[in-house]
Structure formats: structure tokens, C-alpha cells
Symmetry: C2
Subunit: 199 residues, 2 copies
């Protein structure tokens, strides 16, 4: 942006946000300067604090600014069920969509040897130890239904059985509201094979 | 976001950016925390400075952190031509697309009595005074080809004539690379009526 080096710097810095290119960054900068200076200042301050203070919960590995996140330290969550997810986004999706009241464990990735992600990087030793403590009865494995997610699920199920914990997996099948005609082949084949008896 | 109040605050604050809703804000926050903490900190600091320090150039009204913006204080820009635009975005578009080497005047809006935008809000007294100083020979009116933009252009042309300055307007017509079939009616009618003699 000719005219103001600082404005040019702001537009460039905004491009670190995912999905934001030159045009959007310019629009954002002008929008903030013209109409939302107060909220822009607030965003800058919250962002600085978040980048500096948010680490990982020592128990579930989710993002948290405290050593123990509010979900792990909450007394109203059940302690017999543990749900394993790949990322905080998946945790958020489950929290928003379901009535789940148990605890979580966030892998922050999936088993992917080619990317250098093995059991250590995903904190599986920590998970294994927790499963062995005897408090947890069910391990809900909610990794994504991708090749790597399934491999991770397989590994997690073994860990659970070794710790005497019952492993369960989210059901796969035809999405609600979908039309059979447009469901992909492998999902349809899976749903057909796993058909359930109506009572 | 369950787990971290500060993260929830960051996601909420990101929604002040135009075009960013809940899902995008969440994706941005996770992206910054997982992969771009350094650039996130940099963005926070630049944004804070920009919100606090960027004001308007006293001569052209464009955004500037100095009393006189770099375009107005540049010795390599012509002083006989002044281009009037509605917004800094329009200025940026002209700078990027054309080889224009003159000066600018940014209205920061358009004449729109219903929105309380009259000649005072657009700094037209200041513009009028500058036109009367005798240095400027041509006023290029680059307001948008909308109803309000055209009304503003009409007003600006009168100001220019009163100051003894030649007013010009960007050419309207069929866009380059467009197909006549898909050009809207009024543009086509205008282009047809304003046809030019080939030499």
C-alpha cells in the first residue's frame, strides 16, 4: 500500500492467517482502520496473550493456558470414559454436537511415520499409563476415518486392551440427511455390510 | 472452545475481521497456535501499532502514520494532476494497475446525504482550496460508476471548473476481455453511444 509503510506491514502480517491472501488482507486492514479500531486493538492484545500464554494441558494435551485445562479439572465430567481425538478442532466438534460428558485425550496429530509422527510424538506413553491406572472403563476412539486415522485407531485399541479398557469406535455409515445415490462407494459398502437389525 | 477461556476469547476476537465467522475464526486460532506462533505475535504487535498510529494524511486524507503521507511528500510525483478516489482501496487499485505518477485525494466515502455524508465529511472544502491554488491543471475523477459515485463526480466536476481546473472522468465501456453477450445492458448502451472514431 503506497502511502503508509505501517499499513503495508499490517497487510503483509495479516497474510499469516490461513486462507487470507493479498486482497483479503487489504480488505481486513482497511475494515479495521475505518470501522473497528477498538476491536482491532482488542484482537491485537488477545492475540499477543494467546500466543505467549497458551500451552498444552498436562493431562489431555489440549490447548490450555493453565497446567490443567478446564475440562480436565472439571468435577462435573465423568472419569470412566475417555475420548481420543486427533485435534482440538475434533474435540470442539464433538463438544458442540454431542452430549458427551466424559474426558478427552488430544493426540495433536495421527500416527504417520513418514511425517516423523510416532507414538512418542502423540503422547501415547502418557495415555497408556493413564489407561493402566484403572479409573477408565471405556476408550472412545474418535480419530478420523482416513487411512492414517484408522491405523492410529488400531494402535489405540491395542493400547486399551492391554490396559484392560474397553475400546469403542464411532459408527461409520450413511450420513443422516444424505441420499444413497450420492454417498461414496466405500461408505455405502461399509454401511451395507454393517446393517443393523431393527427391533 | 471448551478447555481454554483465552482460546475462546481469541476465536471471538478474530470475528471482528470482515468475512470471518465462527468456523474460520476457530481455524485461524488453531493454525496460529499450532504452526505460526512467531508470526502471530508479529501480527499482534503490528496490528496494535497500526490501530494506534495510523491516522490520515493532512493533504490527501489517505491513511498515513505521518502528518503527510509518502505519496504526498514524494518529490517524484507530478503536482499538476490530482486523482480523486472514494477509498484507499481504489487508490491502491489505480497504483497497481496504471502508470499514474500524479497525486491523489481520497474522499473516504461518497456524497450520500441519507448516510449523513455531505461535502464537509468528504473534505471538499479542503479540495476546493487546493484546486484554487493554481498548481493543479487536471482533476481526474475516479469515483465509482454507481449512482452516488456519479453524483459525487458531477459535484467534483463543478468544483474543478470553479477553480479553473480541467475535470476528466475514467472512460466507461465494455471491459477488455469481456464478451458483448455477457456485458450488462446499460454498459453496452453507454459503450455504443460513446463509440469512438478509429484513425
Amino acid at each position: 500500500m503506497s502511502g503508509s509503510p505501517l499499513l503495508a506491514e499490517l497487510i503483509d502480517a495479516l497474510r499469516c492467517l490461513p486462507g487470507v491472501g493479498g486482497k483479503s488482507a487489504q480488505r481486513m486492514a482497511f475494515h479495521l482502520l475505518e470501522r473497528e479500531r477498538e476491536r482491532g486493538l482488542k484482537l491485537a492484545s488477545v492475540m499477543e496473550q494467546a500466543m505467549q500464554r497458551i500451552g498444552h494441558c498436562s493431562q489431555c494435551r489440549n490447548f490450555s493456558e493453565d497446567p490443567l485445562c478446564s475440562l480436565c479439572s472439571s468435577s462435573s465430567r465423568e472419569r470412566q470414559v475417555l475420548c481420543v481425538v486427533e485435534s482440538p478442532t475434533d474435540l470442539a466438534a464433538i463438544e458442540q454436537a454431542t452430549g458427551y460428558r466424559g474426558q478427552y485425550f488430544v493426540l495433536m496429530g495421527r500416527l504417520s511415520p513418514l511425517d516423523g509422527l510416532g507414538p512418542e510424538e502423540l503422547g501415547l506413553a502418557q495415555l497408556s499409563q493413564r489407561l493402566g491406572e484403572g479409573e477408565i472403563e471405556e476408550l472412545i476412539i474418535a480419530t478420523n476415518p482416513t487411512v492414517e486415522g484408522e491405523a492410529t485407531a488400531h494402535y489405540l485399541a491395542q493400547l486399551a486392551r492391554a490396559g484392560g479398557v474397553r475400546p469403542t469406535r464411532l459408527a461409520h455409515g450413511v450420513p443422516l440427511g444424505g441420499e444413497l445415490e450420492y454417498v461414496d462407494r466405500s461408505t455405502l459398502a461399509h454401511a451395507f455390510g454393517s446393517r443393523q437389525l431393527l427391533d
